[in-house]
């Protein structure tokens, strides 16, 4: 349809009085207020009505200005990102070193509370990088990613408290265990198409959580396992918060290094090819099933690492930390920053760990904001904040 004809068609539709009425700010505000009415009574609905009416009016009023402005802003945005990228390439090494020094100095000037958040961000960065491999690179929606995280955490918890194994002996074992489980789940699940895969992984995540919750003799059920040891570095116990911070930083750097190498390797390119077009990539000789399997297992590997680190940090694990909402949160980290982009995912994880801490006063509303934020993000910037198309 040509532009002119489309405008004419829209014009015709917009001319009918019913259409004009149902798209008027008054009607829109009234509609939402009516929907809100049973939940908060007449007063609440009235407040919502007034707020919506003014917002819609202002938006309508600005709409004429916004469209050219939006275009200009988008152009400016891409320009800034491009510029930043050029600059990053020039001073990339310098700024990276600066950032590293900043991160290294952090424990000297920051409060314990802040270091605690930094450690948590580090763990989530590792976790989100793992999920990014599955969702961002290979394009497989995994809604049960938290299961591997849980398995990593519980493996370390059990190996440590029941068998008395130290961190360094337990780490390979628990990571291996979650990787193998990633393989085991992926093996049958990968025959399924996108949405079904998402649901099966979701089911897997729930089953793992239910087993952890109900297998009282092994996992102590909902009470969780406490008294897990912090890791030792040769003879130094990493009990102090700042020591553990450096420890996590080391792991984060290692993760980013390895993931970066894998991204630009043959495997990484094969994943991207599968995400873009599965049939085309199989026709040029990529064994799609095998590569999908690798992506699942590799993602699960990092989840296992993050889980072990989490258990060692908290010294306590319980099924409560591994709910479906946690999976969604990790997914949000990956999506917010930009699917498939390493800096984007780091950015997303840090933001989503920091934000709730900073917004403690309006904590009740943060899940509300997360939900609506997801919808808005999908509508206005589906590639994520730092992603590219």
């Amino acid at each position: 349809m040509t532009e002119g004809r489309r405008q004419k068609a829209e014009g015709r539709k917009g001319d009918s009085p019913i259409h004009r009425f149902t798209h008027s700010p008054f009607f829109i505000a009234l509609w939402f207020a009516m929907l809100f009415l049973p939940f908060k009574g007449i007063e609440g609905a009235f407040v919502l009505f007034v707020v919506l009416l003014t917002t819609v009016f202002i938006l309508r009023f600005l709409a004429g200005y916004i469209r050219p402005l939006k275009k200009r802003l988008q152009d400016a945005g891409t320009l800034i990102i491009q510029n930043a990228k050029c600059k990053m390439q020039n001073i990339g090494a310098k700024s990276l070193i600066f950032l590293l020094i900043l991160l290294l100095c952090l424990p000297f000037f920051a409060k314990d509370y802040f270091i605690d958040i930094a450690i948590l961000s580090g763990i989530y960065i590792i976790l989100a990088q793992g999920l990014n491999i599955v969702v961002g690179l290979a394009g497989l929606l995994n809604l049960g990613f938290v299961a591997f995280y849980a398995i990593g955490a519980y493996s370390y918890a059990l190996l440590n408290t029941k068998l008395g194994l130290g961190f360094w002996t337990a780490l390979p074992a628990s990571v291996l265990f979650s990787t193998v489980l990633g393989f085991v789940l992926a093996f049958p699940a990968l025959r399924l198409r996108g949405d079904y895969l998402a649901i099966v992984t979701l089911g897997f995540g729930e089953i793992v959580r239910l087993v952890l919750n109900n297998w009282d003799s092994l996992t102590k059920g909902p009470n969780g396992i406490g008294g897990i040891q912090r890791p030792y570095l040769s003879d130094i116990p990493l009990g102090k918060l700042s020591y553990y911070y450096y420890f996590i930083l080391l792991f984060v750097i290692l993760t980013i290094f390895v993931v970066r190498r894998v991204y630009s390797s043959r495997i990484g390119r094969a994943w991207v090819a599968i995400r873009e077009d599965e049939i085309a990539s199989s026709s040029i000789g990529i064994d799609t099933t095998a590569y999908k399997l690798y992506s699942f297992a590799f993602g699960a590997f990092w989840a296992g690492v993050a889980g072990t680190l989490f258990a060692a940090k908290m010294q306590f694990v319980s099924p409560e930390s591994f709910t479906f909402m946690e999976s969604v949160l990790i997914l949000c980290m990956v999506i917010l920053g930009g699917l498939g982009s390493i800096p984007g995912v780091i950015f997303g994880s840090v933001i989503l760990v920091m934000l709730p801490e900073m917004l403690r006063e309006i904590q009740l509303y943060r899940m509300l904001a997360l939900g609506s934020g997801l919808v808005l993000l999908m509508i206005f910037r589906p590639q994520g904040l730092l992603g590219r198309r």
């Binding site: 399924l192 099966v200 089911g203 509300l368 939900g371 997801l374 919808v375």
Partner: protein, 300 residues
């Protein structure tokens, strides 16, 4: 014991089937797993309690209980249908041509939003259904059947029959089937796709509202988080029957209810919620198209 569990299973299964219909209709037309559908069911339960509570305060329930109940059903169905309609317009319509991941994530967002919306406005504690109905019933040979159970089974059956007639006999039903088969072709023969999609959401949400209200009556307690687990189970039922197939959803719901109540009684009730997932995984692995589904060929 066995027959008792059978009756309980059919009761719960009827509810699952009603929710599953919404999933299957939306999936048939948009190929979208509507994660927010479980929350609509939860909204239905809450709206029922709120509206009936209002009628009790006004004095309508003491004046005429059946009238109050009928009005409650009608009003909460209308409200939920409006919610479904609005959700589609706000969260899914702008994404109709987006990559397939986007609407799915948007649906997860809506689901989180609605859960917290209800939690913030109605509180995090359990809501109690107004005590207007006595939990009466009758016993035959030690098998207890309550009137509410009978009502649920009858109402689900009637609604399913109506839906079946609607889909197979009316113009709108025909249009829905056409859009489900091929959107572009349907629009070429003059079907307004937007109307059909809105109608699908309205009907699906209305059915979920009835299901939610009946569950609130049956258990007497609701919570803002009931939507998630019920939604997943209903989705399992839809997949079990073959997603996109309406008789499949009905059959799958009842089968799932039966399996759940029988396995909770004879195997272990601790893992009651896990059976649905295990069945889901097994079905998807053995016969991904479900019991009644048609297989898709992937075209290059």
């Amino acid at each position: 014991m066995f027959i008792q569990q059978l009756i309980n299973g059919i009761t719960v299964g009827g509810v699952y089937a009603l929710i599953a219909l919404g999933y299957t209709m939306v999936y048939g037309i948009l190929e979208l797993i509507n994660f927010a559908h479980g929350e609509i069911y939860m909204l239905g339960a809450y709206l029922g309690i709120i509206i009936l509570g209002f009628f009790t305060a006004v004095g309508l329930t003491s004046y005429s209980l059946p009238l109050a109940l009928i009005l409650t059903f009608v009003l909460s169905t209308i409200f939920c249908a409006s919610y479904g309609f609005t959700i589609e317009k706000v969260a899914y319509k702008p994404l109709r041509n987006a990559p397939r991941l986007s609407p799915l994530i948007s649906a997860i967002g809506v689901s989180i939003f609605l859960q917290n919306y209800v939690m913030l406005t109605q509180g995090a504690t359990d809501k109690v259904f107004p005590h207007v109905l006595e939990n009466e019933g009758f016993e035959i040979n030690g098998i207890r059947v309550t009137y509410i159970q009978l009502f649920i089974i009858a109402a689900s059956a009637v609604l399913m029959i109506f839906l079946h007639i609607f889909i197979t006999r009316t113009r709108m039903g025909k249009a829905m089937r056409a859009v489900a088969q091929d959107k572009v072709m349907a629009s070429l023969v003059g079907i307004n796709i937007d109307t059909v999609i809105s109608m699908t959401f309205v009907i699906g949400s209305g059915l979920a509202a009835v299901a939610g209200l009946m569950v609130a009556m049956y258990y007497g307690l609701v919570n803002y988080s009931i939507g998630y687990i019920a939604g997943i189970k209903a989705f399992t039922a839809a997949v079990l029957g073959g997603i996109g197939s309406i008789p499949g959803a009905m059959f799958g719901g009842i089968l799932l209810g039966l399996v759940e109540s029988l396995s909770a009684a004879y195997i272990s009730s601790e893992y009651k919620d896990a059976y649905a997932f295990i069945i889901l995984i097994i079905v998807l692995l053995i016969k991904p198209t479900g019991l009644f589904g048609k297989s898709h060929e992937e075209k290059v």
